[in-house]
């Protein structure tokens, strides 16, 4: 009964997305206030029913209703309650429902926070979002219904994929989807601006907080996924250039370019058509990622379950959405040219380079991800592009980007002048050079020029991002949320570069064999296996090793790596034993039993690995702070009164 209610709510959500799209777009075109009002009301209703459908599916999981096929496939009566909720988005059908709910939530937020905007603009935005919602709702209803019944009902479920039974991974998909879907708001604003044929710096100010918040969620989602891969997959890597990871990283890179390009459009009225193109591209890449991951075009050997009809639906939908937007762009973009110029060394030109380099990085990743498909489609064989290619290809645009960051942050708009900060920046670079070469070499030893370069540039960015906050605080000036957010985000990026460089340069890995009572030395630490014991979890059994780590006879840590076998799905999982401090992780993962109580173990020493995720979260926090800047609310309200008056609402 509840499942049918959910299905019905989903149908209603689809039915309301249609008038939301129609009245929003047509009402704005003919300037009919009542139609535009109807559109926002439909959007509210669409949210209510999408939330209801989601709640029904969550309830079916909560009460273990194994007469629902999706529940039977992805849950089990022994699954802990928390993971039963996480299982709602644990597979294709439910994750699409989450996508739809996120879409409705963003739409509702646009309606709620855009009251000061001209109604024609809001209405077009809500209308475009309605088209996207309708497409996704139809996709779920026709190819991926999560409420399908299973008759006769299963006595118990097949359980959630054990890899997903983890707190970080339970939160990773919602964050990522909210980010993906959030990119539809700048997209909708871009389409609205092209339909209206008008784009000014006010438009950029409306879009900026939305783009920044969506980007923040993407940042958190990607960081959580990376953290999870690090401790759950058992290899101790934090990024694998897997097509699924790339699918989330590409919208992030374009999103990063977008929030920088929006700054230029807002402050100087430049880069207008470029900003439009980035707004379209960021969301296009989100959709593209969905297509790649779910259609089976990219994944090869594990694609048995993927359904070609799903791939075809997303492809048609993707073609319509993006094709229309790009067509509109080709037709209208020429109206958005700007006359003003800027000097070769100015903040504009730094941000231009930032954009070019980020786009180049995205194109390289896209090529690497799609290259196997191109080759296969042309009948030239089957190949794969590995991490080494991506590492090099990504570094080529990123190195200059990192070096341009510190001066870019402090360059003035328009003019070729750094003012007093020029000498300070050079002094900080010298300081970074001194510290960045001497300290790592003293602590870890010499590795390579590239690792020193990475550390130096990270320190330079970190120092440079502190100049402005410290300067303003010392002089007693107030610090705007925009400046604080930007400084935080760049500081976080510096920590990330530092962590990534140090861990990749100085990590130490060893595969050894240990039996209880034996010990092994690795990276200056002695790892002793005290005992092996059997552990019973709620839905798994496991072998757990107790491993004591000592250094110079002093006990440093005790870690408990596990090898788990989940009862239903029977596949073995590795739970790494990790001891983490701020400057290093000791990582122990169990491999295979070697007989007579001995196990193969992978020991890893990971210096400064936590800076990777710490940096990412600080960067995300910077985005949040910047989006909270008062001028997005106050001045929007003040300045928006003029165009509203000019548009002269008939009501």
């Amino acid at each position: 009964m509840i499942a049918e209610l959910g299905h019905f709510a989903l149908i209603l959500a689809f039915c309301l997305a249609l008038p939301q799209a129609f009245f929003g777009l047509v009402g704005a075109a003919y300037n009919k206030t009542h139609w535009m009002d109807a559109s926002t009301k439909a959007a509210t209703g669409q949210f209510v029913f999408a939330a209801m459908a989601f709640a029904c599916l969550a309830y079916a999981f909560y009460v273990n209703d194994f007469s629902v096929l999706y529940v039977a496939q992805n849950s089990n009566s022994a699954l802990p309650t928390f993971y039963r909720f996480a299982a709602v988005w644990g597979a294709h059908e439910g994750s699409l429902l989450l996508w739809l709910l996120a879409q409705a939530l963003w739409t509702l937020s646009v309606v709620a926070f855009s009251r000061s905007l001209p109604q024609v603009i809001t209405s077009r935005v809500v209308g475009v979002l309605g088209v996207i919602s309708a497409g996704f709702a139809l996709f779920i209803l026709t190819t991926s219904n999560p409420f399908e019944r299973l008759w006769p009902a299963a006595t118990d479920g097949r359980d959630l994929n054990p890899l997903l039974q983890d707190p970080a991974l339970a939160l990773h998909p919602p964050m990522l989807y909210i980010g993906y879907v959030g990119m539809s708001v700048p997209f909708a604003f871009a389409v609205a601006a092209m339909l209206a044929g008008k784009l000014d710096s006010l438009w950029a100010r409306w879009v900026r907080p939305w783009a920044t918040i969506a980007w923040m969620f993407l940042t958190i989602g990607i960081a959580l996924g990376s953290w999870w891969a690090y401790y759950e997959l058992g290899w101790g890597g934090w990024w694998f250039w897997d097509p699924v990871e790339n699918a989330s990283f590409m919208p992030w890179l374009i999103g990063t370019a977008l929030i920088h390009s929006l700054a230029v459009t807002e402050k100087r009225g430049l880069f207008k058509s470029w900003t439009l193109l980035l707004s379209i591209t960021a969301f296009s890449l989100s959709l593209l990622g969905t297509f790649l991951v779910r259609s089976g075009v990219i994944e090869s050997v594990h694609a048995f379950a993927s359904d070609p009809s799903r791939g075809l639906f997303i492809l048609v939908f993707l073609g319509l959405c993006i094709g229309t937007a790009l067509g509109l762009y080709g037709w209208r973009a020429q109206h958005f040219t700007s006359q003003a110029g800027f000097a070769l060394v100015s903040r504009e030109s730094f941000l231009l380079f930032n954009n070019i380099l980020l786009v180049v990085a995205t194109v390289l990743i896209l090529l690497g991800t799609l290259y196997p498909m191109f080759v296969d489609a042309l009948g030239l064989g089957k190949i794969s592009v590995g991490a080494p290619w991506f590492n090099v290809a990504f570094l080529i645009p990123m190195l200059p980007l990192a070096f341009l960051l510190a001066p870019g942050m402090h360059a003035s708009w328009k003019r070729a002048s750094f003012g007093r900060t020029k000498r300070l920046l050079i002094a900080l670079l010298v300081l970074a050079l001194l510290l960045g070469t001497t300290i790592p070499i003293a602590v870890y030893g010499w590795r390579s020029v590239l690792s020193s370069v990475g550390i130096v540039v990270a320190l330079w960015i970190a120092f440079a991002s502190l100049i402005e906050p410290i300067d303003r605080l010392r002089k007693g000036h107030s610090l705007s949320a925009s400046v604080l957010g930007m400084s935080l985000a760049h500081f976080g990026l510096a920590l990330f570069i530092l962590g990534a460089t140090v861990v990749e340069s100085y990590k130490k890995e060893a595969d050894i064999s240990l039996a209880p009572g034996q010990s092994a030395e690795h990276a200056g630490f002695v790892f002793t296996m005290n005992e092996l014991r059997n552990v019973e979890g709620p839905n798994y059994r496991a072998v757990e090793a107790e491993i004591v780590v000592t250094r110079d006879g002093q006990q440093v840590a005790v870690v408990y790596p596990q090898k788990r076998v989940y009862r239903v799905q029977q596949n073995p999982m590795t739970e790494a034993g990790i001891d983490g401090t701020w400057n290093r992780d000791l990582f122990v993962a169990m491999g295979d039993p070697l007989g007579e109580g001995a196990w193969s173990l992978r020991l890893q020493y990971k210096p400064m690995v936590r800076f990777i995720w710490l940096g990412a979260f600080i960067t995300a926090l910077g985005g949040l702070v910047a989006a909270c800047d008062r001028r997005y609310r106050q001045r929007v309200a003040a300045e928006a009164t003029q165009p509203v008056a000019a548009d002269a609402k008939p009501a």
């Binding site: 075009v297 050997v301 379950a305």
Partner: protein, 195 residues
């Protein structure tokens, strides 16, 4: 101002590749076993696990090896096709029945037979409910033989010739169209007659 249409053009090319990509067969990974001798095996019969069957028994004949398990959705999908192939009687079909994961304890030793009996019964129930296309079914508790064959997942189907060489491999659910296109031409003289 045609240059603003460049993004749309690039996108159109991408979509073209995706359309082709959707229709190219992702599942035929070339198997390194093609043209090489098939792995030898000795496994218990599903119907009677006390009886061991060895690959020697099939020497000198063409036969199919079909990897399946009662947990596998793709196997259910291809089942009617297998029944049809069995009805035509062109070639004996050997079922290699695999559990969802190796049935082993945490030390990697195989679980005793009493404990895996329920798995065997699941397989037998599937055959009695959906029909049995197999001339013989072998139970591969530890995926040992499946791994020797380089199996990624079920279902996979191998054609083995009189010399014991692997002639063709099909990954994923088999359809009658696949069968007639990829297998029938390789069956040779005695296989050419339908029904």
């Amino acid at each position: 101002m045609w240059r603003y249409l460049i993004p749309a053009g690039v996108f159109a090319v991408l979509v073209g590749f995706f359309v082709v990509g959707l229709h190219t067969d992702k599942q035929t990974l070339p198997s390194p076993l093609i043209g090489k001798p098939a792995p030898r095996f000795e496994l218990p019969r599903l119907e009677d696990p006390t009886e061991l069957v060895s690959s020697e028994q099939f020497a000198g004949r063409k036969y199919l090896v079909n990897v399946w398990g009662p947990w596998c959705e793709g196997c259910q999908q291809e089942h009617p096709a297998l029944l049809e192939i069995a009805r035509r009687g062109q070639i004996p079909i050997v079922g290699l029945t695999v559990p969802q994961g190796a049935l082993a304890d945490l030390q990697g030793n195989p679980l005793p037979l009493e404990q895996v009996l329920s798995e065997i019964q699941l397989g037998l129930r599937w055959l009695s409910e959906l029909g049995n296309p197999y001339d013989i079914c072998l139970f591969d508790q530890m995926w040992k033989v499946a791994i020797d064959f380089g199996v990624y997942g079920a279902p996979e189907t191998f054609l083995i010739d009189e010399r014991g060489f692997v002639v063709h491999k099909h990954t994923g659910p088999l359809t009658i169209a696949d069968w007639e296109r990829d297998f029938v031409p390789k069956l040779g003289r005695e296989g050419g007659v339908d029904g």
